[in-house]
């Protein structure tokens, strides 16, 4: 089912949770709503589910207006963050609930529930109570319960938030494969960028009730649309620099920035991702025009990538450089040593209108 959200606005008292949010979700997409807490992502999901009503705006499913349709009649599956299983019912009855209230025949219910127990790899556990299951198993019961009513769309609110790290990774790989098999339009909420990028076809980054960026994981990661997105997507080095004539300058090191062709110099923020910086020992010819001298503060080995904390000679700013561990071994850097840092790539954002005095 395709979903379209148009100009959805929602306030709780004086707090504006969503501010004219519009979004299109094509049939079969697995979409992540990514953002910090308070960004409005869960509210948007609840409005799409019909659990919350919007103050303004419209929601259509396959072109049909469902804005005022109660959650009960939406026919969507919803998986709650803390599972929300019915504790007094067995696993079997939990999954059967949606079919029982629809008064489906007993034999059909039995068949469907066993099918789902198999799908979520809980064969033979139908007689257990939710309290006798692990967190990962409970989450799969919640998923089976949501799928039992053959929903048109699956909505998941922080589906892995309450699980420990190892189970979380396993379960999301499994969910991705499940989605590939079923092909149902699915939307999940998360604050974990790694989860969003690993699982989703499309990522929507939200902040303060607005969509900052909407695109494929590659688009969002490679071309962050706003400073917020690049900040949120992981540790990044931020510096004050200047732009003029199609180039940005970071302590005199030029970086191409064709978006600003004007001759007049202007202040800008330069974002340098740790893995897009090169580190070398000083003394390579021509280095001084494109590299910045710095000294090593700390070296933190971590698997494939070694993180080196440095302090720039000019300005004394601290920054991080991610070096492939093989190269780091070759360099054998020690704290206090002098190095040269070369940006391969940078993102430059001009100050927003709020900065203009």
């Amino acid at each position: 089912m395709s979903l379209s959200v148009r100009g959805i606005t929602k306030s709780f008292g004086s707090f504006k949770a969503l501010d004219r949010v519009s979004l299109d979700v094509p049939e079969g997409t697995l979409l992540a709503l990514l953002g910090p807490s308070g960004s409005g992502k869960t509210t948007l999901l609840r409005i799409i589910a019909g659990l919350e009503s919007a103050d303004a705006g419209m929601i259509t499913e396959n072109g049909e207006d469902v804005t005022d349709l109660h959650a009960r009649r939406r026919g969507v599956g919803f998986v709650f963050q803390h599972y929300a299983l019915f504790r007094h019912m067995s696993v079997f009855e939990n999954i059967a609930f949606g079919l029982r209230v629809r008064k489906e025949p007993e034999a059909a219910i039995r068949e469907r529930v066993n099918e789902l127990l198999h799908l979520v790899r809980l064969d033979g556990l139908g007689g257990r109570k939710p309290s006798q299951l692990s967190g990962g198993q409970r989450q799969r019961v919640a998923l089976a319960r949501a799928l039992a009513i053959r929903p048109k769309m699956l909505l998941l609110d922080e589906p892995f938030g309450a699980l420990d790290a190892k189970v979380r990774v396993e379960l999301r790989q499994w969910l991705r494969r499940l989605h590939d098999e079923i092909g149902m339009t699915s939307i999940f909420v998360t604050h974990d960028q790694e989860e969003a990028f690993e699982l989703a076809d499309r990522v929507v980054v939200m902040n303060h009730g607005k969509i900052e960026q909407h695109g494929s994981p590659e688009e969002v990661f490679d071309r962050p649309a706003t400073p917020f997105v690049i900040d949120f997507l992981g540790q990044v080095n931020v510096f004050h620099g200047r732009v003029e004539g199609g180039r940005a300058f970071w302590h005199g090191i030029p970086i191409d920035f064709p978006e600003y062709p004007h001759a007049q110099s202007r202040e800008a923020k330069v974002y340098l991702r740790p893995h897009e910086l090169d580190i070398d020992r000083p003394g390579i010819p021509g280095q001084e025009t494109r590299s910045l001298p710095a000294s090593v503060l700390r070296v933190t080995p971590g698997g494939a990538v070694t993180r080196v904390a440095c302090r720039t000679a000019a300005g004394g700013e601290e920054l991080y450089v991610d070096v492939p561990t093989d190269k780091a071994r070759g360099l054998a850097l020690l704290p206090g040593e002098r190095v040269a840092i070369t940006p391969r790539k940078a993102r430059v954002f001009l100050p927003g209108p709020e900065y203009v005095i």
Partner: protein, 304 residues
Amino acid sequence: MTPESAISIPLDGIRLDNELSLDESLSGLPARRRRAEVLPGFGVSGAITGLVVTALVILPLAVLVLRAASLGPAGFVAAAWTPRARAAYAVSLGASVAAAAISSTLGLVVAWVLARINFPGRRLLDSLVDVPLALPTAVAGLVYSTLYVEKGWLGRYLVPLGFQGAYSRAGIVLVLVFVSLPFAVRVVQPVIESLDRDTEEAARILGASRLQTFFKVVLPAILPAVLTGFALALARSLGEYGSVVFISGNMPFKTEIAPVLIVSRLEEFAYAEATAIAVVLLLLSIGLLVVVNVLQQRVARAAQ
């Protein structure tokens, strides 16, 4: 739309099924070790508990039983199993069970409103619920009988309609509901407040109506508390004397409850007979409460 009917997702290398459930992982542990207590140990608190229970409950009950035993088996039956006494037990038990049933039903509604609905005056209503606990129950009995007699504010409308609220069994139930309602409300209210609202939303989104959601999801979760409230209301009603004595009219075989009969025996200085009736009332009450508690535990286990 969802052709997943017979799909099985291969789980190569993913050990979803090997996660231990809580009790599985616990069962492998060595024998339970004694945990160090944070608060003063069992020695002191246990001694205080034993002393309090003995002095306040066991000792008076023992005296009661001993005094009744002085009648001998034949004398005991003659004193405690007269037609009038049997009628009094029946009125006591019947009115108390009816009152407890009404209190726990109404209490559920009141607790729901107080826990879930925010309206102006909610705090005031919340504190009014406790008033029957503080008010001398004799006052309640007097006020109720004034209201419900034929010429009373309510009685003048209700009596012609056939509802005798004063000097009747209905009157007894009425005051017993008054004195036992706070228990029924206060036991259920915190349980409703702590309910996981997600489960109600989950039920709705799965297609359940409001009624289905209440009866299939909410009620099973709060039923143990409702039954506890029933047991407390029942216990409170069985022992009530002050309010009933003013509203019931105390007609033997009709509206005389066992506690009132005990008092009238005492007024005749028939102390042993009074204790014999008290012992029977006590045994019946204990039996009834045991039944309710067993039921409550079963429901609680099912609701886990």
